[in-house]
Assembly symmetry: C2
Homo-oligomer: 231 residues x 2
């Protein structure tokens, strides 16, 4: 009996791991996979394409098929679609995305407060200055990226970045109201002040205020979107 | 100029949203998509397959192609592969996954403590009893599922479930050492006690202890895996 697409994909993944292939190494050729796994070359080709969509393999045209790193960014289109669909039914779905980022960041900020050194603090000061000069959302994204740059949990930091990107794309579609860059700069400056004092509890508190601002912004966005669609 | 695969996928997603199609509704037929988007039917077919892998569309054999919900479970194969690959290089990567779950759960438990009612508490008691009777990891998973069942942030609760599944699959591969079901039951009972007292801070504290246990278990697993591979 032929394996279903999903099963065949799982068997190719197992084969990659059993042969101890690492990211960047070539996959066995299609005829080899076909013979080893007892599946038609067409089925193999389809399964490999699905693995490519998930970032598990990389197709380099003219070179062949290689093991990928399955980066979390492979998830972006699905998460973006899911959020856009949900927001259309109930715009508050955007708040869920912000809350997930909040849960992750609130948990990590205490670790950051313990290890914040002069180099980090100065580079955060630069982004606060850039915000004050009106560079939003560029400086905002860089601020949060720098904040967690030394956290060794790559999964957590990549998730934060992923949710940031999806939030901003959906917010752009919802025509987010203009923000007061001075206010955004102030709320980030308070985070830097707490880190400079190595006060983990205070860092957590001001980060929470920062997210309260963000939640209010989402509420206003949602109200404006509702007003437009009922106009 | 022909759009790249990713661009074509994005244009199909835009078309779904512009036409206000919702989950379960049929996608326009292939020839229509081909004409509307100015792409060959082959390219359309490939793009639709990629969207299927991401759960953005569903293919029902013999019925056609429908709009999907892009469930987070579409992410499981990629996250599982990524974790298995990372754990092979450094088994501590498994701890990152546990920490992400910890960050999310610690943030949500305070909301649970506020709203815990008798029905929830009794059903959590049942799972603690099942753990004590040795039903692991079944009762453990159900406990955490029930705990967050009334949290309205679906994204957060689905992420917790996703990381749970990936953790347990990788732990099974690493031949996780046997756990003391009485100890696991005790640590969950303490969570229920705190919820029964509606003591949010205590609920957070005992949940944190629970995760410390889990981190110790991961450490032992990692040591055992290292000992095996160097033997």
């Amino acid at each position: 009996m032929a394996a279903s697409g999903r099963q065949l994909e799982a068997r190719i993944v197992d084969l990659i791991l059993e042969r101890r292939l690492t990211a960047g190494e070539p996959l066995p050729a299609e005829p080899v996979l076909s013979k080893t796994l007892g599946a038609s070359r067409n089925s193999i080709r389809e399964a490999v394409r699905a693995l490519h969509t998930l970032g598990i393999v990389e197709l380099r045209h003219g070179y062949g098929t290689f093991v990928g790193r399955a980066p979390l960014t492979a998830v972006t289109p699905g998460l973006l679609f899911r959020t856009r669909l949900a927001v259309r039914e109930d715009p508050r779905a955007l708040a869920d995305l912000v809350e997930v980022r909040e849960l992750l960041e609130l948990g990590l900020i205490e670790q950051v407060a313990e290890h914040a050194d002069d180099q980090l603090l100065r580079s955060l000061d630069e982004e606060v200055a850039a915000m004050r000069a009106g560079d939003l959302p560029g400086a905002d994204r860089r601020f949060h990226e720098k904040l967690y740059a030394r956290i060794t949990n790559e999964l957590a930091t990549q998730l934060i970045a992923l949710f940031w990107d999806v939030y901003h794309q959906v917010a752009a579609e919802l025509e987010a109201p203009p923000v007061d860059s001075g206010q955004v700069a102030d709320s980030h400056r308070r985070i830097v002040d707490a880190l400079r004092a190595h006060d983990a509890a205070q860092a957590r508190r001001v980060l929470r205020y920062h997210f309260e601002d963000l939640h209010e912004r989402v509420d206003r966005m949602v109200e404006a979107a509702r007003a437009r669609s009922s106009a």
